[in-house]
Amino acid sequence: MEEFEPKIIAFLCNWCSYAGADLAGTSRIQYAPNVRVIRVMCSGRVDPTFVIKALRAGADGVLIGGCHFGDCHYMEGNYKTARRVALLKKMLGQLGIEEERVWLEWISAAEGSHFAQVINDITAKVKELGPFARQNNS
């Protein structure tokens, strides 16, 4: 059987984590090809329903990348994200969904290697969890 190749959606904020992903590129750091990026201006834009819809549509994992605390381009968007993702994870747990499928990471524009590491880590973790079994998997 072919090895399970998870599909992971990453919501990256324009100012830090997206820039960190660009830096991984300019530094030619090689990492797992399983992630598809959706750019948003701030991690605060990520509505928890996007995450749920991504899982329901077919994603095996979701990454939300934002700036470190104090670095958010809009000052405090990422604090809101942190609170929302914590709630979301709790809810996922109650629904019986492994909360390790959803990651929140702070990645600065200078952290190209950290970005690559996060992608490798989340890919490995989701591989370990296996494909996400969707209830209404029609």
């Binding site: 820039a19 201006m41 524009a109």
Partner: protein
């Protein structure tokens, strides 16, 4: 809404994408996506040829949406949007797909998977582009005043340039006097002019200029706001004051590495750095008889891989000056390579050899050794041409060390929200296309804050940064992104959840026909989208990143059909 007619331009970026992603295959695939009426590939979409291809295709295929799949929006979005605008297409109908920085460059060993990923990313982009809406921008005034951080030769040059164009300048220097590193330097290569003469004249010009307000012993403690309207808090020895400026230039320089523990530095009093030598030459003159200089100390080594560029010339200069003042002295210059680029430097280097400076090349594998007891007495170095170790007696050893990032770079980077490179220098938006700009509008950089530069380079960059900063200040307004949030008043229940969420206080509940509804001020909103994620009624429309657009991207990735 009219039917979407999408044109997709897939870029080879020379070999950067083309060598890893099968671009022709991607283009074939893209042609089959719904609403795509034209797809082509370009060697460089950002070249003049590529741009005119976009401008030509828009009328030819009646395109009302354009996608470029290439590098990163952070550097190239502006360019492609401008091309769309020139061809009469609202620039918000353009969508960027990144298949280089986040695809070809990071999956070089898996071309098959890189190609698949590129296809899927474009498919997602097409799904979003289909739903994009045109947006109009509002004008916001720009305060014609610039905050220049750093009062060295580079900061001063930027400040004078802007002041002479008629702009108000606040020049902030953390030390008690202007001049920076040049205050410690004796003479300048390649002219051998006194550093104090050059910097002294510039400082005088600053003092005489009515448009420049100098703030000495001052740090920028805080800065917030956006291009055109930054609020800065200055801290002058504990006394705080506030400023409003339209633009900011970072010219904070760098500092010389003190190579503690290497070649007896810190242990032997007669092992010093080039800058310490300069200080000594300047103050009391220098009359060493046997001098050994060692280049690349702490530079181009595994823990600090970069070349500081100008230090070879500094060493050549100081070696020559010693020979000039004392022709009987013996001066050896131990180096790995020698950066003497350009016309003047190569001549300067040749002249130093004619004057009797001796050059010995050493290798990283066979480092010179400084031997002494209480002070450095000998330097042993492997002589490649002679094929044996030679021993040089010394009165003084001068270590040529690189410039390193200043300790407060990190603090400044956090404050201005601009990035640092992995080495800790400030990182420009694009090495070639935006070399003196940050990705954040209205903030510019120049000089050794960015990368070690010599004076001529640093001053050129200062002029470049000043020219860039002058553009919005001269125009008098900026049109910030029309990416702002909007309330659908019919959906809004007036719950007020959004109001406290906005970091910019753009949201206010207002009375409308007897009920309360949320109102977002377009001029104040910065478009973070945080309110949109918070509204329980789904009443907030985050332009250009609308729920439907993001959800379409997600669904496109997983839909089996095209």
């Amino acid at each position: 809404m009219e039917q979407a007619r999408i044109g997709v331009f897939v870029c080879h970026c020379g070999v950067n994408i083309g060598a890893y992603v099968d671009v022709p295959q991607v283009v074939e695939y893209v042609k089959g996506l719904p609403n795509v009426v034209h797809a082509e590939r370009n060697l460089f979409t950002c070249s003049e040829e590529g741009i005119s291809a976009i401008k030509k295709a828009i009328p030819e295929y009646s395109l009302n949406r354009v996608i470029v799949a290439s590098c990163t929006p952070r550097t190239h979005e502006r360019l492609f949007r401008a091309a769309c605008e020139e061809a009469g297409l609202n620039k918000y109908l353009f969508e960027f797909v990144n298949i280089r920085d986040q695809c070809s460059w990071v999956h070089m060993r898996e071309p098959g998977k890189a190609t698949e990923k590129a296809k899927e990313l474009i498919k997602m982009g097409v799904a979003k582009a289909r739903l994009l809406q045109p947006l109009e921008e509002i004008e916001i005034p720009v305060i014609p005043s610039c905050l220049v951080m750093g009062g060295g030769v580079v900061g001063i040059s930027a400040a004078l340039n802007l002041a002479e164009q008629g702009f108000e300048v606040h020049l902030v220097e953390k030390e008690g006097e202007l001049g920076g590193t040049l205050l410690d330097i004796y003479k300048l290569f390649p002219t051998n002019e006194q550093a104090s003469k050059l910097i002294g004249a510039l400082i005088q010009k600053v003092k005489d200029h009515s448009k420049i307000k100098t703030h000495l012993s001052t740090k920028v403690k805080d800065a917030s706001g956006f291009i055109g309207n930054f609020d800065a808090t200055l801290d002058e020895d504990g006394k705080e004051s506030k400023l409003k400026v339209g633009t900011i230039i970072v010219a904070t320089g760098a500092e010389e590495l003190k190579p503690l523990g290497q070649y007896g530095y810190g242990k032997f009093p007669n092992v010093i750095t080039q800058l310490e030598l300069e200080q000594r030459m300047k103050k009391e003159g220098f009359d060493g008889q046997n001098v050994v200089m060692i280049n690349c100390v702490g530079a181009r080594v595994p823990e600090r891989t970069y070349c500081s560029r100008f230090c070879c010339m500094t060493a050549v200069k100081n070696a020559t000056l010693i020979k000039e003042s004392n022709p009987t002295s013996k001066v050896w210059l131990l180096h790995r390579d020698l950066m003497a680029y350009g016309v003047e430097f190569e001549n300067y280097y040749r002249k130093s050899m004619e004057q009797g400076v001796r050059f010995i090349r050493y290798e990283l594998e066979k480092l010179p050794r400084v031997i002494g007891n209480g002070k450095a007495e000998k330097v042993k170095v492997w002589h490649q041409l002679r094929g044996r170790e030679v021993e040089l007696s010394v009165d003084i050893v001068v270590l040529t060390t690189p410039l390193i990032p200043r300790a407060d770079n990190e603090e400044i980077s956090k404050m201005l929200k601009v990035p640092l490179s992995e080495q800790g220098f400030f990182l420009e938006a694009h090495l070639k296309l935006m070399p003196v700009e940050f990705a954040t509008d209205g903030i510019y950089l120049c000089g050794s804050a960015r990368w070690p530069t010599d004076i001529a380079e640093g001053v050129s960059q200062a002029y470049a940064a000043a020219a860039k900063a002058a553009i919005p200040m001269r125009r008098g307004y900026v049109k910030p992104e029309a990416i702002t949030a909007l309330v659908d008043e019919d959906k809004c229940s007036g719950c007020g959840t959004c109001e406290p969420v906005c970091p910019f206080k753009a949201i206010e509940l207002q009375a409308r026909d007897g009920k309360k509804v949320s109102h977002i001020s377009e001029a104040v909103c910065k478009g973070c989208g945080t309110c949109g994620a918070a509204c329980p009624a789904g009443a907030i429309i985050m332009n250009h990143f609308r729920d439907v657009e993001i959800l379409a991207q997600i669904e496109a990735l997983f839909s089996k059909s095209n």
